[in-house]
Symmetry: C2
Subunit: 236 residues, 2 copies
């Protein structure tokens, strides 16, 4: 094997990229270290020079995911024109960043992320995301409580419940993927939209808001994501 030397940061990202592709397509357990280093075109020595273990690679990957997600909502957090409710709604929908054109990509991520063999990876990402998002959510909620928009005795608890919304959709999406047919997809869309409405009124209640205040995503967004995926599927 020819010896290629890259800048450490580049090489590291390189390994992460290849690992991400393999872990997402085959799952963390089924993708072997040999697969990773073969894909990245490096030797075992090189790999262990950058990561102390396969587990550490997984964690680094989860961290990167969480950081990227955080960066994606940074503008919402920084926007000074948003009141607490608006900020919370924007965070929940994330629709400012996730435009409809990228819906197909969003689905691709969903599809791979929620596959059963990706449980471990998904969980790590969730942990990392929780660790970095929770404090921000708590901050927003606390501000809302102070200025009187929200009313709750447990901001951290509310934040956790908000975070769990992601997990909540897990089962539904997983089943839709397992099924795969158009009919399954249609069912999944309806179930998800109902579920979203349920979460909205639950959040309204535990934040002491009048009904209809919380709006998770724009109406029809889920359908847009799902149908975009269907189109992409049929194209290939």
């Amino acid at each position: 094997m020819p010896r290629v030397i890259k800048h450490p940061e580049i090489r590291r990202e390189d390994i992460l990229d290849h690992a991400q592709a393999l872990f997402l397509t085959q799952g963390y357990d089924r993708a072997s270290l040999n697969d990773v280093i073969a894909s990245a075109g490096i030797s075992k020595g090189a790999f262990y020079h950058y990561f102390p273990s396969k587990e550490a690679l997984l964690e680094a990957l989860a961290d990167r995911f969480a950081r990227q997600a955080l960066a994606a909502v940074q503008s919402v957090l920084d926007d000074p024109d948003l009141d607490p409710l608006g900020r919370l709604n924007s965070l929940l929908s994330q629709s400012r960043q996730a435009k409809i054109e990228t819906a197909a990509e969003a689905w691709a991520l969903f599809e791979t992320m929620f596959r059963p063999e990706n449980l471990v990876l998904f969980h790590r990402i969730n942990l990392a995301a929780h660790a970095s998002f929770s404090p921000l959510l708590v901050k927003v909620i606390r501000q809302g409580v102070e200025d009187g928009t929200f009313r709750t005795f447990d901001p951290e608890g509310v934040a956790d419940i908000v975070m769990q919304f992601g997990l909540a959709t897990h089962d539904v999406v997983a089943k839709a993927i397992a099924g795969g047919s158009d009919a399954d997809m249609e069912v999944a869309i309806e179930v998800l939209e109902k579920r979203v409405r349920l979460y909205e009124i639950a959040l309204d209640r535990i934040l002491g808001l009048p009904d209809g205040s919380i709006r998770i995503g724009e109406p029809g967004y889920i359908r847009a994501v799902m149908t975009a995926r269907r189109k992409a599927d049929k194209a290939r």
Copy 2:
């Protein structure tokens, strides 16, 4: 090794027992098949005579857990004197079966179940539990909707959210375990009781009930479980 022949069902349960002990103490990944067969005192041939793979063993274990849990609440489901709300509350608290004396055991299960290395096992159990519990919950909720106690447009969604309550406590408990000190425990108790109250009012709302209708567990139950554990810990 002497050749001991047991009744197939006995042998199977035997293997499951030893696997359960090992998986819970060491985690599914870290406990090797050799550990399991050594602990069970059998050969590889014997093991693969009963289970097609290590994965299948995990699934069988999860199934058994789910079946046991189901059996534990069967009386609540069969009780003809309970109205839908009472039945739901009883299911949520499970306090009829889980008396305070068994609190220490409950904790032991919690402690092992929620350890990070048991993610996979926990998830399988959760899936199995979800599969068998959800329909029952939906049935109860549907009855409540019919007789006018509950009011919701999405019984399945409500059932799922109820089921997720178990997962919700996961993080809190996991952190308390990670900490381990009395102070950590005290914090965990308070956080958990707040979280429970939050869930109660959220469920009240999405079931169209007046506040205070849903009661997850008797007041002080969490503290009872936690302190029982503390006593058990200090005893040894």
